[in-house]
């Protein structure tokens, strides 16, 4: 809390923006479905950090509540995503996103 009051919100917002960019670039560059998946989690957590920073700055509990919603939804998404990835890897071990190109045009 001490740190927050001396530093102000800017570093946290910048960190959030950097994490979000890293995640977005990673998703577009990496080809392993699991890593792509982790990049999305990175983006969601960057969003969470931004929400919490704003909530602290505005002294409003609403922003922190949003983070709980995002966490719960992210957990549900992980379940679905891992299910789909397991389904693919069962049929084609070691599949990357580039292998998934049966359909084109």
């Amino acid at each position: 809390m001490m740190l927050a009051s001396t530093l102000g919100p800017t570093p946290y917002l910048v960190l959030g923006a950097v994490l979000f960019t890293v995640g977005a670039v990673g998703l577009l560059v990496r080809r392993n479905p699991l890593v792509m998946f982790m990049c999305i989690e990175l983006m969601l957590n960057a969003t969470n950090l931004t929400f919490v920073t704003f909530a602290r700055q505005l002294d409003d509990v609403g922003g922190q509540v949003i983070v709980f919603f995002v966490l719960v939804v992210a957990a549900a998404e992980v379940v679905i995503g891992l299910g789909i990835i397991v389904g693919i890897l069962r049929r084609r071990p070691g599949a990357t996103a580039d292998d998934l190109r049966l359909m084109k045009g």
Partner: protein, 503 residues
């Protein structure tokens, strides 16, 4: 003890309007019943889940009718959840689209190598998310509704799990969908940081005020709208759509291309009209570019498709462009804004019905030919004249030829674009006109194959259409023909589908 609990006990329960929530409550109850029936019956009796799901959706329409008769917006939870005329019209649309999807699915899912109970459970959950979306007037509610309707859809898209194509469909849809959600959330966090509110009405007030002038407001608006552009498969965010549509079971393709897309449009309309209208200078160019690209690219790629489902995937991308087009002039004047809302809602209603009908015919023909190629429709008129005529009607309705219903949708888009009178509106109207002609070419091409060509394998045995499919087709065909002659019905609905402001 009680004294210690006093702060907790002092919590006042928010007023809950049970009548307004009745459609959602009925759907939730149906979801629970389907789940219980699924675990407690044997594999042979699983078809019951389909009937229960259908009855649940029709039952949820009853409170929507009573709410419409009673009238008046019902505002709950500090303006976060509003049941107004807009919400009622679109809830009814989602429930009808969901019910028709069930009709399309029944035989397909029962005869294929699929799990039945879970399938209907997920369709119901997705429709539930859509009905919530129609009432969501708050960033958190919109986010939750979006996930509620998307997460089951990811699973349904990958439902053919024993085929690599099915896996690919699920994976692509999932990755792109979650990516879009993250982008949208980041935009929401910026808007929340600037306005200290998540309720759309309050955000709207602040965007009209001083916050709207800051660059971060424009950034947040663009991020949120881009997130939803993925959902409605607008170019350049459309890459997932054709692959997902081809790999998913065809009833789910119909569901995604109609209901899921409509839900994305509902969210865009709510955000644009209630919250972001103060920055029309950001929204108009963004929507202009998105709409022009979406129509043109979608149509040009659709021209060279040989697979019917893929063709419909690109055609539905292009149709999304027609629906985005009126938003290119939104907010330039009060009367234009009203016409834009009418045009988009009217187009959504018409497109939903016609596209579902076309998919019903595709499923019926595919049951016999076991092929997705357009050439497999050759000679359809010889051995199944009813199907061929119905499909012809749906195709020309999608192309917008009078007297079928589609002309009215396009007419309203033109009216909204021209009423503004500015250069951007007129040029957009020209783009829409050119694209309508391109679209007519490939729709007419399918019709030519059906009526002129010989069957590719010489097989002329008639097609037996199962009753649920026939019902879906009949409903869609009746609506396509009747509403085409009396477009006042849709105009009336679209005109009344206005937002309750305030709250």
């Amino acid at each position: 003890m009680l004294a210690a609990l006093a702060p907790v006990l002092a919590f006042a329960r928010p007023a809950i309007d049970w009548h307004a929530l009745a459609p959602e409550i009925i759907l939730t109850a149906t979801i629970c019943i389907v789940l219980l029936v699924d675990v407690s019956t044997s594999e042979r009796n699983r078809w019951a889940t389909s009937s229960i799901a259908g009855i649940g959706m029709l039952a949820a329409l009853i409170p929507i009718l009573t709410l419409a008769v009673k009238g008046g917006p019902r505002i709950m939870f500090g303006g976060a959840y509003v049941v107004d005329d807009f919400a009622l019209v679109l809830k009814a649309l989602f429930l009808v689209a969901g019910y028709v999807t069930l009709l399309l699915s029944t035989n397909e899912i029962a005869e294929g190598d699929f799990w039945e109970g879970e399938y209907y459970l997920l369709v119901l959950s997705s429709v539930f998310g859509m009905t919530v979306m129609a009432s969501a007037r708050d960033l958190i509610t919109i986010f939750i509704a979006l996930e509620m309707l998307s997460i089951p859809a990811y699973l349904l898209a990958g439902w053919r799990k024993r085929e690599v194509k099915g896996n690919e469909a699920g994976m692509k849809y999932y990755l792109m969908g979650v990516f879009a959600t993250a982008v949208m959330l980041y935009g929401m966090s910026l808007i929340y940081g600037g306005t200290n509110s998540t309720v759309l009405a309050e955000i709207g007030r602040q965007i009209h005020g001083s916050f709207g002038k800051e660059p971060v407001a424009a950034l947040g608006i663009v991020f949120v709208l881009v997130g939803f552009a993925f959902k409605v498969s607008a170019v350049p965010f459309h890459n997932w759509a054709p692959d997902t549509y081809e790999g998913a079971p065809i009833p789910i393709t119909a569901f995604l291309s109609v209901a899921s897309k409509a839900a994305g449009f509902v969210a865009i309309l709510q955000l644009v009209f209630l919250a972001f209208l103060g920055r029309g200078d950001v929204i108009r160019p963004l929507m202009w570019i998105l709409a022009a690209l979406t129509m043109t690219v979608g149509n040009l790629i659709a021209l060279r498709q040989t697979n019917i489902v893929r063709l419909f995937a690109y055609s539905s991308v292009a149709q999304a462009g027609f629906m985005l087009a009126p938003l290119a002039v939104v907010g330039s004047s009060a009367s234009t804004t009203r016409e834009v809302l009418q045009a988009v809602v009217g187009y959504l209603l018409i497109y939903t019905v016609v596209n579902l009908g076309a998919f019903a015919v595709i499923i019926a023909v595919g049951r016999k030919t076991k092929s997705g190629e357009i050439s497999s429709f050759g000679g359809l008129f010889e051995y199944a004249p009813g199907l061929a005529v119905a499909m012809g009607a749906f195709l020309f309705a999608l192309a917008g030829i009078p007297p079928l219903v589609g002309w009215f949708a396009k007419f309203q888009v033109f009216k909204a674009l021209v009423s503004q009178g500015g250069a951007s509106g007129i040029t957009m109207a020209v783009v829409v006109g050119v694209n309508s002609v391109i679209a007519l070419y490939y729709y007419a091409n399918i019709a030519r194959t059906m009526f002129m060509d010989a069957p590719p394998d010489g097989d002329r045995t008639p097609i037996r259409v199962p009753v649920p499919l026939l019902a879906a087709m009949g409903m869609a065909a009746a609506a396509t023909l009747v509403v085409g002659f009396i477009p006042g019905v849709v105009a009336h609905l679209a005109e009344h589908a206005t937002f309750a402001l305030g709250g």
